[in-house]
Symmetry: C2
Subunit: 571 residues, 2 copies
């Protein structure tokens, strides 16, 4: 019998008013996501759950003095690893802002460390004030056009389901595989047939979209236009509107929301870096922005509470109602909700920095994740022709343009040309020591000199380097390896700044404020090197992601995502 | 691997447009319950499911000539037994009207024949054009204040879950048991903790309602006022608005529906007799009435499609979308939708009377269900005082008033007084031959002479008799037993009309049109006997239901439902 069940008689006695509640919140204005109204009632809490709404007495009674109380916010899709912090430190950033549940896809660490990496994230999320709902990474590796540290097939994912470690199947990025009925892909869908299956199908429309949805996948968070989102919603997908650090779709998609369709819309952050989380927030920021845009506040709250619970079937939360967990978001201004208090399982959350470290051991398999022999790595590109394919990076988007430009050729080599923002990019396989290195060129990063490098490179997370010259690039790559994975900026052989990410080369084990401080130095260094971008490191990290159009670079070479194949650098 | 999964590659090929669909519906106007819009697109069908919405080619192409196409309607809660017909014949009535799925609670037959009765209904529903979703009867018997033919505890119900025979727990009528944390009741809730649990809590409000909901129950279909429904909805219950033959809540509750709360509202029929089903319809009638009242048509459609699917988690239907079953409701007028065609698994439904019988054997345990020794039964009531409790029946409601009147006393016996519409009522236990007989008086049935009797008496389904004199009552009871269960009208010892219900004393094995014909004769006989009611037999059948306030009669005596105890007939 679960704790919930064994405590049920006591919960009911409190609900009936025949027993004193643990805690009663008085004089709050409840955001009722069922009725769409604001109610003035007491909230009685027992053993972490809401016992009743009405008139109650409690051992402790808290006067909310007319503040609003909403259900804790839910992030419908986030990769915690993108915060560069392990789950306890990610929680430190989002919980004080009222985010009490996140649905997470640990596919970054899974690409580095497989099932062991996923289980590390699950263990590291236990006992947190944040409820972390895990989805099983569906596409590790995302495709066979990149080398990952692990390959997860249906039978391995099923082991996560078997012991209830995961709730469903995470974003199915291999949309060509689904649409074309790839057997291994369908085997994964079948293994999760009775569970929510998140989608990822950028730009998929028409008959291809029908096929994708007919497979049983039920959501998408890759829409960038209202027209695309409207079609996907009409065909049956939940639309998870995303506002990541480098994929900002909220403003573009807010006009999608109508009273008629809003129940099918949720909010998610996908990937947000520390400074964004700490300065701007995540789901709480999206909520405020939606209300500011003119969405009815309760409709906006539903996009980060009830709707998300309905999509995922998380019926124990997402509303202030008897029997649900007492995760509450207290705020003063319905036009701009900022958390003044957050209740987790009915207790007021207080930041507790506690020990600086993670509070648990990080396995060696995670801390020793860079297997690269840089003595063998060559960044030189011999020119085959004078015309080259160039990745056209767009600010705040994951999609790129597939450009073709004249190469700058020196001594028979194609080289970077910072004057045209034509930088060299390298992706060096770091998991298996294969020596694979993919080389190409990119526009839109804007470095004028030096190089940046890192082991955060979605989704395979090999070592990615972008620079203006080979010396800076090699120095950056070497510095990343020296710190066991992380992010680095160099100018020539001088290291300007570095952020160690010892956990799988993806996450620090330091508190998020400290990580953010170092990250700010990194960003300053990149700015000093000439990049005008908000966050060139996050931009870089998506330039190796071969499932988002149009042109990307992996350790195996340039990928034409629409054609879903490796193409030559030279035209 | 299920058929669905093994056919998935073919379904996807059709969705992609690379293979010809089985059937394409052209020139339809699709009611899109996701977007809340009407779309003009082709619908491609393969192997019973929708492959895609868009432009498609089919082996067969059907021109809908601008007709509307909506998802097949869903009845959120119905007792099929109340149609007096077995499932195949019930389906004959509702499918041509566009009802393609019903969520059913077989608690009538369960009270007579236990798990065996439930399994009979499940078997009898296989292979029908109607999809029948079974819920496990939660309250057999409804209380211990009546004698039923079976007692179902949590462990027996769990056997139905174990082999996927049921989808969830049906209406939990023992609301005092839930609210007061009765151990056996909570054990049933626990057994179904991961499944939808339907509620039934007439008039429960405030803190008691909080307790009921905190238990995990998620719906209610017993609201009779907007105020009650609004409170229950705000506390988290789905509101299943009911329009039964004798419990008509639709008009009273339509003002509840707003754009803000409509997603939490579903339609159900609960109990409808054959003439109502054939003349007026069921869910289709509620849909038309809601639109006529002024509810937006797509909002009204959602109350009988998507909303119901969301409450029950039936994500394979309820919308016209890729991958969902191709159960479709085609109609011409959005202001008054009447089915012109119905598609079941993508094939146009054509009534097929087939063999007149059920097409399968009905077990003897069901056909021999009346165990009554009428020679031992006495209808005489010795007067203890001159004041008696009287059941005040209200037309078209299940609730009654608890009245107190002067008895008519003759030779020391309290007797019926038709001049004051004060009729005698008897409930004779028929399952176990206990000889139990409950006696009382009732107003509101309106017979001027004679008696009516039947083995349909919710939920225990003992033999119930209402009459103006003991001779007519005994004759009616005897006639019911002679036909192995059924409904009868008598005048003195003359049998005016009778409807045999050989299946558990609840259902005929004849086609519904034939049952309706005999039922009409019964109603004419009751009218001839003086009753002004639309359906005095259905009214009678709920006068023995001890879970709906205020005063009811079982084989154990008069039940004060608010006090939840047996009370004396005499005050």
């Amino acid at each position: 019998m679960s704790d919930v069940q064994s405590n049920l008689p006591a919960l009911l006695a409190i609900a009936r008013g025949e027993r004193i509640a643990d805690r009663v919140l008085r004089n709050g204005r409840i955001v009722n996501v069922f009725s769409g109204t604001i109610e003035s009632e007491d909230i009685a809490i027992f053993d972490g759950r809401i016992a009743g709404i009405g008139s109650y007495k409690g051992k402790e009674e808290i006067d909310l003095k007319g503040a609003y109380v909403a259900p804790g916010l839910i992030d419908a899709h986030v990769h915690i690893e993108s915060s560069l912090c392990i789950p306890p430190h990610f929680a430190e950033a989002v919980v004080p802002r009222g985010v009490t549940t996140v649905v997470t896809d640990p596919h970054e660490i899974a690409n580095v460390a497989g099932i062991g990496g996923i289980r590390f994230m699950i263990e590291a999320s236990k006992g947190l004030p944040l409820r972390v709902v895990f989805m099983a990474p569906s596409c590790v590796p995302a495709t066979d056009m990149a080398t990952s540290g692990a390959v997860l097939e249906a039978d391995q994912l099923a082991t996560l389901l078997a012991d209830d470690s995961v709730h469903g199947l995470a974003e199915v990025m291999n949309f060509p595989g689904v649409i074309n009925a790839d057997a291994k892909m369908l085997a994964k869908l079948q293994a999760f047939a009775e569970h929510p299956q998140d989608g990822h199908c950028p730009g998929v429309r028409g008959n291809a979209l029908n096929a994708y949805i007919a497979s049983g996948i039920g959501s998408d968070h890759e829409c960038i236009t209202v027209e695309e989102a409207r079609e996907k919603l009409a065909r049956g997908l939940y639309i998870l509107i995303r506002e990541a650090t480098n994929a900002r779709n909220l403003d573009a998609l807010l006009p999608l929301i109508t009273e008629q369709n809003s129940r099918r819309i949720c909010f998610c952050t996908d990937d947000r870096q520390p400074a964004d989380l700490l300065n701007t927030g995540g789901i709480d920021h999206m909520l405020r922005r939606a209300i500011e845009f003119g969405i009815d506040p309760i409709t906006a709250f539903r996009c980060c509470t009830l709707n998300t619970c309905e999509w995922f079937g998380l019926h124990d939360r997402g509303a202030i109602a008897p029997g649900r967990v007492a995760d509450l978001f207290v705020f003063e201004d319905l036009r701009s909700p900022c958390a003044s208090q957050v209740y987790i399982s009915g207790s007021c959350y207080k930041a507790d920095p506690g020990p600086e470290g993670p509070g648990f051991a990080i396995p060696n398999t995670l801390t020793q994740s860079c297997h690269v022999d840089l003595n063998a790595a060559r960044f030189q590109i011999r020119a085959k022709t004078s015309r080259i394919r160039v990745i056209g990076s767009r600010e705040n988007q994951l999609i790129t343009d597939g450009l073709v430009h004249d190469a700058k050729i020196l001594n028979g080599d194609a080289i970077a040309d910072a004057s045209r923002d034509l930088l060299k990019m390298a992706v060096i396989e770091r998991h298996r020591g294969t020596g694979n290195i993919g080389l190409g060129f990119i526009q839109g990063i804007g470095l004028k000199r030096g190089a940046i490098a890192g082991t955060v490179a979605h989704d395979h997370h090999s070592l990615v380097v972008i620079g203006c010259d080979d010396v800076s690039m090699l120095a950056a790559a070497r510095a990343v390896c020296d710190i066991g994975g992380g992010l680095v900026a160099t100018s020539g052989d001088q290291i300007l700044s570095r952020l160690p990410l010892p956990v799988a080369g993806l996450m620090s084990d330091r508190p998020i404020a400290e990580v953010r401080g170092i990250y700010d130095q990194l960003l300053a260094a990149a700015k000093e090197l000439g990049s005008p971008l908000h966050d060139p490191f996050m931009a870089m990290s998506f330039m190796a992601l071969e499932v988002i159009p149009s042109l990307k670079l992996t350790d195996r070479g340039l990928v034409d995502v629409e054609r879903f194949q490796i193409v030559d650098l030279f035209v």
